[in-house]
Amino acid sequence: MTRQAMARAGQWRRLPMIRDPRLRWGLALGGLVYLLLALSTIDVNWARVAEGAGRGLNFLAAFTQPDFVSRRGDILDGILESLTMTLTSTVIGVALAIPVGLGAARNISPWPVYYLCRGIITVSRTFQEIIIAILFVVMFGFGPLAGMITLAFATIGFMAKLLAEDIEDLDWRQVEAVRATGASWWQTMNHAVQPQVMPRLIGLSMYRLDINFRESAVIGIVGAGGIGATLNTSISRYEYDTSAAILLIIIAIVLLCEYSSSHVRRWTQ
């Protein structure tokens, strides 16, 4: 029966997402098998969970009365360190990402440079910040310097990739127009490419600032400075009221960042 005839008989059904029934059922079956396999590998120690459930409730209760006071000094130091790391790493990272991004744009760079820059981007994007932080802590010792270098390195991959994509689909007519006046490479970049990508570059930098702050709360776990170390200590000491306070501060700062960055973006565009 055709779909129209079925609809007339009052038996209309919507079109399936995947047209081919064999592929549709195959995917569903495969998904089910995977789910069963995956679920069977999880072994849960229910006694431990039951024991921890009380702690979970404690943690939730701590959010109603966060303790900002008793570890005030540690929290303040950590937040200050996180904020300084965030700012310096974003500035340095963006400054380094611009040349890498230019090099990784297919339309304006020769292929050896292109592959080199793409390689840098891939390595920087593949590894989590925390893995890079471990290596840099080994090299530069404990402290915020290692964290700053980590975040700057991660920023390079993120910014350069998006910048390169942006340059790849810029309006080529403007570049041609500037080139036709006899401009040098440098002048072409400055007057044809830069004005086209600048608003997005500023928006992305603000976004990355926000990400870097969130990451700086984590890399402290491996000793790279920032609020993460304080948070880690408070959690492992079961001082959930202090951890709740730190988490609330992080959420507040991220909210503030997001709010101001949406303003900046509106202002630049």
Binding site: G52, M85, L87, V91, M139, F140, L145
Partner: protein, 271 residues
Amino acid sequence: MPVSTTTQGTPIWRLRTTRAQWLGYLAWLAAGCLFLLCWKVISDNTMWVFVEDAGRQGSDLISRMLPPEWTYAHRLWKPMWDTMNIATLGTVLGIAMAFPVAFLAARNTTPHPLVRSAALLIIVSSRSINSLIWAMLLVTILGPGVLAGIIAIALRSIGFVGKLLYEAIEEIHPTPVEAISATGASRLQVMSYGVLPQVLPAFAGISVYRWDINIRESTVLGLVGAGGIGLQLNAAINSLAWNQVSVIFVMIFVTVLASEWISARVRHAIT
């Protein structure tokens, strides 16, 4: 366009007015000062003695990492499988939770503005807190293991999927929704026949994208005891077995590249 004139009276074109120019310089100066101030805080908290021999430490590290101990790789298949499971199951769980939250948070489908702000609060708090922090918390609550990792990934995914999905819902075409409601459909029917078909492609794309990010994140969850290849990484680093660490790095690199490729292909096919 600001134009000033020379003493002879000929106009000269300039990009900015004098005032704007000076304001720009001042802003750069302020930004520079702020940067230097931050740099000073960092430099005060740094032991420069350790930094001075960073080059030596780095080359030492590389020499210990090479050659990688390839025979160690066969002990990594199980942790790698765990990592994949953490990422996939975590994504599934996260999507299941994010889906209703997104509908509550979108301006055009929310039942009440108050519900909307509550949903937005859930999205923001889930987005602000890294999955590693969630994992740290859950490990103290649930005990170490894969389950803590799955839930950590799921909790972190709610915010990401929820935010992108509610933005997609807000951008839907109102015409099909109106058409369905004009037939006298109930609220749920309008959702299912008017809204859902419009956001499903975006939803599938977002989910696959998040899965790809989650693979990357689940590789490190083991550092705080939440299962997966991170446990092996932690053990190898703690025992200073750097040639095993390099094997783990290669495995992570290949897995992440593969998942990124799959996700890019799937997203390309969907949209």
